[in-house]
Symmetry: C2
Subunit: 430 residues, 2 copies
């Protein structure tokens, strides 16, 4: 048997402590699978005194994580500090430049600096691995990079943010408002005190940009992701969607075609029959569509200490087994710089919710605007009358070019009959 693979671990929050706990609990099994021990030797975090529920006294404590890469007794650095820049990025650069493998769960850093880091890893012929950065414990980076590698992937999409899915699921199941569920989720620790990263779609956009790079062999392009969160989704929308045969989910979607890449995070209406409609609570799921394999679905827990640690240690086992491959599924020189596709040229059905004054002629005005833009309406719901004289009009369009809907809604929003900004959601029709 080989000698142990010796780990320097930077960051001892929930996930860092989870990695230590996992390596303890499954040590014998991991040794059988990796054919060598995987042993933490040195750890680093901001606060040495904090109780973490795992015994850290047996490891060397390093105040400055930046000292880990240079240590002779560290073979691999695991970064669980977080943050797109700062100490995490410094550590990544130093580790790879020192010719040592680097494992991270840091989606923000990869979204912003993934290409630079992959290039550096390649130059030093060491692995840069990040399974834990996307969809927690689900081995979807491996699934796309290796499992689906024989396919031209035409589209990937999925539920990439557990907080948003938890909020939308609970709104639906318990008939609560967005604000009420968010507040409760914050109390329970399922949402951050500043939740904007999650609920505005930024976290999902980070993950989507990583998946898209792997799936399409593209240079990662976080700036090219159009991200919209779930703040504007109301319980009424969930009810209307349900009446029409849909559930609302925050979906990250990417496709590549004609030398351009489309990336969007957006609340979508998902038909009841679609597997993503059954992904509830804090689960994540990713669908990949390949030209030979067809539709693949990967589903599991998208966050939390256990699942994330599972992904981090899977990367370590790969490294222990000697697996060294390109970070984004192909050598960086072969990654294509794909410009963002025109979002307005995307095609599909749309859900539109308008808040209008309850008076004669309004419906005719709205439908005329849509008709003038070339958008035809598949179904329309107008129910009752609100006490304040406002009413919701909800429509589902036939499949159309999204830009037409946007143009019509820009005009409609300016109408005196419309008393609040329109809400438009896309329908997941594949």
């Amino acid at each position: 048997m080989s000698t142990a693979l010796r780990i320097g671990l930077a960051g001892l929050g929930t996930v860092g402590a989870g990695v230590v706990a996992l390596l303890d609990a499954n040590a014998a099994l991991i040794e059988r699978r990796a054919d060598r021990r995987i042993a933490v030797v040195a750890v680093s975090a901001r606060d040495r005194a904090r109780a973490r529920g795992v015994d850290l006294a047996r490891f060397e404590w390093i105040d400055d994580a930046g000292g880990l890469p240079a240590r002779d007794d560290v073979d691999v650095v695991v970064e669980l500090i977080g943050g797109a820049d700062g100490p995490a990025l410094t550590l990544a650069r130093a580790t790879l430049a020192a010719g040592k493998p680097f494992v991270t769960a840091n989606k923000a850093m990869l979204a912003h600096h993934g290409l630079e880091l992959a290039t550096l890893a390649e130059a030093h012929a060491v692995p840069l691995k990040y399974e834990a950065a996307v969809a927690g414990g689900i081995p979807v980076v491996k699934g796309l990079r290796e499992g689906a590698a024989a396919n031209r992937l035409e589209r990937i999409y999925g539920i990439l943010n557990g907080t948003c899915n938890y909020i939308l699921s609970r709104m639906e199941a318990e008939r609560l408002s967005f604000a009420a569920v968010l507040a409760d989720a914050q109390t329970l620790g399922f949402a951050e005190s500043d939740p904007s990263f999650d609920i505005d779609g930024v976290d999902a956009a980070h993950k989507l940009s990583i998946l898209a790079a792997v799936a399409f062999g593209a240079r990662i392009d976080f700036a090219g992701v159009a991200a919209e969160g779930i703040r504007r989704v109301e319980l009424a929308d969930i009810d209307y969607a349900s009446a029409l045969g849909f559930r609302i989910r925050l979906v990250g979607l990417a496709s590549a075609d004609d030398g351009a890449m489309f990336q969007r995070v957006h609340p979508c209406l998902v038909p009841f029959a679609h597997p993503l409609a059954h992904v509830d609570g804090a689960l994540n799921a990713v669908v990949a569509e390949g030209n030979f394999v067809g539709r693949l679905l990967f589903q599991g827990r998208g966050a939390g200490a256990g699942p994330t640690a599972s992904a981090v240690v899977a990367d370590l086992i790969d490294i222990a087994r000697g697996e060294v491959g390109p970070a984004f599924a192909m050598p960086t020189a072969r990654l294509q710089p794909l410009p963002p596709a025109d979002a307005s040229a995307q095609v599909g059905r749309c859900y539109i919710r308008l808040t209008v004054a309850d008076r004669i002629g309004v419906l005719a005005e709205l439908t005329r605007e849509l008709g003038d833009a070339g958008v035809s309406i598949e179904s329309l719901i107008q129910r009752g009358t609100a006490s304040d004289g406002e009413v919701y009009v909800v429509m589902v369009t036939h499949s159309t070019v999204h830009g037409r809907v946007a143009a019509a809604l820009a005009k409609i929003a300016a109408s005196a009959s419309v008393t609040a900004p329109p809400l438009m959601l896309h329908i997941l029709d594949f």
Copy 2:
């Protein structure tokens, strides 16, 4: 760039032709991902004249596949002949003994000879890869072997046979009998003219034994799989199950605990809320439960030329990238010889369908037998009366030791009141 990885391909049925078609269609992409070309150089099949929809004239034709391993221009042999023994096994042994990587979709051969072949591969330090042998295009072998490698896997289960799932789905959707759907499936080519391999659960058992070996680090034990097919499932059972909140699926299930391994293929009642209840038609799905990652689900197309070719070529890309690991997730010397667990000691709810004479006192007799065996009944349905004086009594038990149910049913089957063998199905309660 390295030189091409040169393939000798044995077997040119649907899947073999699919591999050729895939390597043609996605050649440029595969070269980017693998950093080298993957090129078929020699092919072998029984009938040279048969039209296969792909151009084979550019390849060397070999009448005897056994000649492939010794060829200097063949780096890897791909076996798509099928059959547990015979030419496929001869070819596998010869290829590995020649120190060349071997890729196969042959679940029967692996179920019967997997340990021998893995040992041979290890002795010659070459990969034995078989992603296509289980669940078609779904990268589930990789998912368990690598993606979930950090976990003690406690249980794996799934829908592993597309033919059975197609039949059960259509019986439910179109309200047809088993015989009617089977006959139609045979006409359409979705079922073999001799369907016993599929519908008696043998094919699913082959696949389950492979997954269990990978998941639990166990020596493969096909003989230890208790397999029961779907011949006895009637439309009435599907209706009763539906009324009780379940769908019927053929589920392969394996668990390892206390130094023993439990493996069973059996039609199960799956609660509507469970993801497997939404796996319809010819899809496959596999669930793995790990002690850190929780529940992982992999879903996709379980058969067909495209998906199976996708899995075969994924293995080739792994080989081209230099990935060489143990066939069953750990060196064969570390695989445990786990004896079969006692099936009667398994615990869970059961569905029981009895065909009884429609006369006074029968229900009391049946429930007394179950009660005497310590089995308590959660729900019971008896509807109407059949014209022939027979009636179905359907029960769901509370969670109990399966052996108790079996013992009670053995007595009940012998009763004069019971006019046909009882049907017992397990309920998937996790």
